[in-house]
C-alpha cells in the first residue's frame, strides 16, 4: 500500500499556509456572515408566516361577511322579527314560502348556527369566537336611525334600518407567531389560534332606503 507523502499534514515543512490569526479572523468573519444570513432567513420565514396569516384573515373575513349578507338577502314578510346581542330571528324565503330562520352563536363549536322554523340547528359559518349584533332603529318615524341597540323586537314604533354585525374570527396560525404578534392581533393561548375582528353592516331594504 502506497500513501503519497505530498498529502500529509505537516507542521515541519517550510510551506505557506494560513496562520492562526488568519484562521481566527476568517472564522470570525464567516460566523458574522452566517449570523446575518440566519437572521435574514428567520426574518423571511416569519414574514412568510405573517403574510399567509394576513391573507387567511382577510379571506376569512370577506367570506364571513359575504356568506351572512347573502343568507340575509332574501328576507320577506316582517323581515327581522327579533334580535339580541348574540342571536337574530328573521323571515326568509324558502321554496316560495316565508319562513322564520334563527341565527346564533354556537360557542362550543366556535361557529354560527342556523335553523329553520321547526327544524334543528346546523352549523352555518365556521371559525367564529364571538358574535355581537347591534340594531340601528328608527323610533321616531323620520326614516333615520336614532338608536343603536343590541335588543330588537319588531313593533309599529320601531323600524329597523341596519344590523351591525361584529364577529371575532379564529384563524389557524403557526405557534411560531404566538409570542410575537402584529398590532391588533390577539392570540388564543388555549387553542393556539389568532383572533381578529370583522365588522360589517347589513342594510335592511325598505321604503326609506
Amino acid at each position: 500500500m502506497c500513501i503519497a507523502a505530498s498529502y500529509t499534514l505537516s507542521a515541519h515543512r517550510n510551506e505557506a499556509g494560513f496562520s492562526l490569526l488568519e484562521l481566527v479572523l476568517s472564522m470570525g468573519l464567516a460566523a458574522l456572515m452566517m449570523a446575518a444570513l440566519m437572521a435574514s432567513l428567520m426574518q423571511f420565514n416569519r414574514h412568510k408566516l405573517v403574510s399567509q396569516t394576513i391573507v387567511n384573515q382577510q379571506v376569512q373575513g370577506q367570506l364571513a361577511s359575504a356568506q351572512v349578507l347573502q343568507d340575509w338577502a332574501d328576507v320577506c314578510g316582517a323581515g327581522v322579527v327579533q334580535g339580541s346581542a348574540t342571536s337574530i330571528s328573521l323571515k326568509r324565503l324558502h321554496q316560495a314560502h316565508c319562513v322564520t330562520y334563527d341565527y346564533g352563536l354556537n360557542a362550543p363549536a366556535h361557529s354560527l348556527k342556523r335553523k329553520r322554523a321547526g327544524g334543528r340547528y346546523s352549523s352555518f359559518l365556521a371559525g367564529v369566537e364571538t358574535l355581537e349584533l347591534w340594531y340601528g332603529v328608527d323610533t321616531n318615524g323620520d326614516c333615520g336611525i336614532n338608536l343603536w341597540t343590541n335588543h330588537y323586537q319588531t313593533s309599529l314604533n320601531h323600524r329597523l334600518h341596519q344590523v351591525w354585525v361584529r364577529l371575532t374570527m379564529r384563524t389557524e396560525a403557526s405557534r411560531q407567531l404566538g409570542g410575537n404578534l402584529e398590532g391588533g392581533w390577539m392570540w388564543h393561548d388555549q387553542d393556539s389560534v389568532l383572533l381578529n375582528n370583522v365588522g360589517f353592516i347589513w342594510r335592511v331594504a325598505h321604503g326609506c332606503s
Binding site: A5, S6, Y7, T8, L9, S10, A11, R13, E15, A16, G17, F18, S19, L20, E22, L23, L29, M33, A36, L37, S40, Q43, F44, H47, V50, S51, I54, Q58, W134, G136, T139, D142, G144, I145, N146, L147, W148, T149, N150, H161, Q162, G184, G199, F200, I201, R203, S209
Partner: protein
C-alpha cells in the same frame, strides 16, 4: 505553526480578492434585505387597502342612513359620542358624528395621515353622484391624476 497542503506552492489570497469577496457578499446580503423590506411594505399596503375597503363600506352604509347629514360623517368630535352607538337615543347630527368619531378612533388609526372626504360631483340632490374618498400616506404608490405622489387613494361612487 503553519497548516499547509503539502506540495501546493506557497500562496494565499490577495487583499484585493478578499475585498472583492467581502464586497460581493455584502451586496448579496443587501439585496436580500431590500427584497424583504419591499415585500413587507407590499404586505402592509395590502392590509391598508383591506382596512380602507372596510371603512368605505361602513361609510357608504351611513351615507344611505343619513342622506341629509352625510357631510358630518367626515368630521371628528369628542369620544362621548360613542354613547350614540351603544344604546342611547341620538339625533341624526349626533349619530353621524358618533360614526365619524368611531372611524377616527378605530379604522383610520391604521392608515397613516388618512383623510376621509364625502362630496358630491355637483349638487347633492337625487340622481347626482356622491364620492366617498379615502387617502393615506403610502410610499409605494406613484402619482395618478386623482391621487398625489406617495398617497394611496380609494374611492366609492354612489348615485343619490
Amino acid at each position: 505553526m503553519r497548516i499547509g497542503f503539502g506540495a501546493r506552492p506557497a500562496q494565499a489570497f490577495a487583499l484585493l480578492e478578499v475585498l472583492l469577496a467581502l464586497g460581493l457578499s455584502s451586496v448579496m446580503l443587501l439585496v436580500l434585505y431590500s427584497a424583504q423590506r419591499h415585500s413587507q411594505a407590499v404586505l402592509v399596503y395590502s392590509q391598508q387597502r383591506h382596512h380602507a375597503n372596510q371603512l368605505l363600506s361602513q361609510v357608504a352604509s351611513q351615507v344611505w342612513a343619513y342622506p341629509q347629514h352625510y357631510q358630518l360623517l367626515t368630521s371628528e368630535l369628542n369620544a362621548s359620542d360613542a354613547r350614540c352607538l351603544a344604546g342611547h337615543h341620538c339625533a341624526p347630527t349626533a349619530m353621524t358624528q358618533a360614526w365619524a368619531t368611531y372611524w377616527h378612533g378605530h379604522l383610520l388609526q391604521q392608515l397613516p395621515q388618512a383623510t376621509l372626504t364625502v362630496a358630491c360631483a355637483d349638487t347633492c340632490s337625487a340622481g347626482q353622484r356622491l364620492t366617498i374618498k379615502l387617502q393615506w400616506q403610502q410610499t409605494l404608490v406613484s402619482a395618478t391624476t386623482s391621487c398625489p405622489l406617495e398617497m394611496a387613494c380609494v374611492s366609492l361612487h354612489l348615485t343619490l
